[in-house]
């Protein structure tokens, strides 16, 4: 039992499993390999965005601009590949650098201009979206707008691997093919989790979010930590942009519109505390896929899309309420410890 308690996001994982089992019984075609394949490819980029979003929330902020950064990264790739015929292996890293820089600018606005994270990223959300329209190769060269990206380095991201065939398990059970985007997500999640729990750089995010003043007094460069949090968020948005461009073989100006809200929801459901200082990189991934199975399961059961949105909202409210309850409980315990009770 004590071993179970050490598993992070245990309640969330249990909820995930119970819901999956429920839908396996009651949602037609939910337990098919093709459905799992859809879930993995359809939500991998959302989960990456949620991991990225968890960093600003961890330092008591929020990043509303990631949807626009997704569009910016995607349009950079489109322009480089379609207009300047830059090969994909150069275009993708360049787009990642731009996305990372866009995130860092958010952090700099918050740290140096002392803007509220909500206001700073709301402003940059509009500014980056405007920039996307300004640099859009589809607007500058409309004839390119109806041509797909064929660069093999980029289209290769939308690859699927037959794990069942390779391991011989497909003789026993029909396994889904694993999309490369999901493997990228696993790599991001593992790297991020190792960084958060085993490096000083990673631990600084939680310490800064938990108590910024104490972190500063402890010698942590909180300004650099906050900027890094937003830069990581931007970087993850860049990764999501690459996955989306590979999936769609193009970039659109409206790409990523509203995606920030889904990523925030996934992060919060995944246990990233809105009070800052708490969370890990596994929770947001589970949160993203939880949203996925709820929406898929309900739709397969024939529940209207509007009802689904209401239910998703209710689950989010539940997660936020739970977070508030837990933070009050933690504060009570801390006070009890301080008073020696």
């Amino acid at each position: 039992m004590s071993l179970l308690r050490r598993i992070p996001n245990l309640e969330l994982l249990a909820f995930f499993v119970v819901l999956s089992v429920f839908f396996c019984f009651y949602a037609p075609h939910f337990n098919t390999a093709s459905n799992v394949e859809n879930l993995l490819s359809g939500y991998a980029f959302i989960a990456i965005l949620a991991i990225g979003q968890s960093y600003p929330i961890m330092v008591r902020g929020i990043d509303l601009s990631i949807g626009s950064i997704v569009a910016l990264g995607a349009m950079i790739i489109f322009d480089l590949v379609m207009i300047w015929e830059v090969p994909g292996y150069l275009a993708m890293p360049l787009a990642l650098c731009v996305a990372l820089a866009a995130g860092a600018v958010n952090g700099a606005l918050i740290v140096y201009c002392r803007l509220q994270p909500f206001v700073a990223t709301l402003a940059s959300m509009a500014a980056y979206r405007g920039l996307v329209y300004a640099i859009s190769g589809r607007q500058l060269f409309p004839e390119l707008a109806t041509k797909p990206i064929r660069d093999p380095w980029i289209t290769g991201i939308e690859e699927y691997y037959d794990i069942g065939g390779a391991t011989g398990l497909d003789q026993v059970v029909n396994l889904p093919w694993i999309p490369l985007s999901f493997l990228i997500l696993i790599a991001v999640m593992v790297t991020s989790q190792v960084m958060l729990s085993h490096t000083n750089f990673g631990k600084n995010f939680k310490i800064t979010g938990g108590n910024p003043e104490a972190a500063r007094l402890a010698g942590i460069n909180t300004k650099r930590t906050i900027i890094s949090a937003y830069a990581i968020s931007g970087f993850c948005a860049g990764l999501a942009a690459i996955i989306l461009v590979a999936r769609l073989t193009t970039a659109t100006e409206a790409l990523g519109n509203g995606m920030e809200l889904t990523a925030i929801a996934a992060a919060v459901i995944g246990g990233i505390s809105l009070q800052g200082g708490l969370g890990n990189s596994i929770g947001p991934v589970v949160g993203a896929f939880l949203l996925g199975i709820i929406l898929i399961g309900l739709t397969l059961m024939g529940v209207s899309q509007f009802v689904q949105q209401i239910l998703s909202g209710a689950i989010l409210v539940g997660a936020v309420t739970y977070d508030l309850y837990m933070s009050k409980t933690r504060a009570r315990r801390a006070r009890a410890l301080q008073s020696g009770v």
């Binding site: 075609h29 459905n35 929020i62 769609l248 889904t262 929801a265 929406l295 989010l316």
Partner: protein, 342 residues
Amino acid sequence: MSDKKEVLGDSQRRSFLKGVALGSAALGAGLVSPSMPVAGLGQQGVARAADGRYKMAFIQWQPHTVPAAWSNGIKEVLDTQNNIDYQLLDGQNKVEVQVSLMDTLINEGANVIFLQPIDSVALGPSIKKARRRGISVITLNIDAAEEHAAHVEMNHYFGAMDIAKEMGNRMGGKGKVAILNAPPGIIIRDQRTNGFIDGMKEHHPNIEIAADQVADWSRKKAQDVLFNILTAQPDITGVYGINDSMALGAVDVAKQKGILDKMVIFGNDGERAALESIENGELTGTQYTDVYQQGRFAGSVASVLASGGVSAKSFEQQGKLLMPYTIATAENVSSIQPAQRW
């Protein structure tokens, strides 16, 4: 103590701001809904489900009068077949949502997918995947860059040429025109724009196209865009909105500026609001297409393909059907019957 209160206050303010963002996330969570009910389908694209019924779905761009009317037309035909389950799905104006919906329908083995693609290229990989599974995709109005079973569209290019001709006649063959356009990336945009430009060149070479700006298909955006255009170029006397919503936005601006009687404004589509505006002497004209009929044609094609067991793999090239149209103006708008208005 006061410091503590301030810190608490800051924290509460932050929480409030986050709460505002998160409140919207309730809707955002639903923005990536990747699937729709297609229960009871077999795994093969052209095969009927075990209960002998066919499954078809229409993935619209977003709720709007045009796809709603198409859907009514499609449903009218499919309902009479008695063995087809049909559903209208919402793409929520997001390519990634449309792609996810396509993926789900493909994997669940729908027989025919009607599609109004948000982007002609972005849906290409999904259409290709459907074809590999033998599922027929029928696009409505907006063609896709990837070949598919069939495309049923309004006559965008030649209709726009006729609009240019009629508009030029009403402008006396001279003057300046602004185009309120759609964002690039959709073939319909090119067809409706190029048809208009070519029509002007052919019939009214003295009319100058002085502005061509994106107004995102939106009445509100069109108001803002045209307001700016007219501020910079007040001598513009003609406006062509490549859909009716944008043209009606132009009417709003002209009324506001008190120059409606000097303006010649044409739209495209022929929706009910546009026809009423023409009857009220506001909008000059529009290209009217019977969209119910367009839906019926698409539904008929789908019914034939599914009941005939025709696999999308067997098509050598994409079929195309252009809809008949009328350039509706004050002189002939009354001939469009109430049942034909959408």
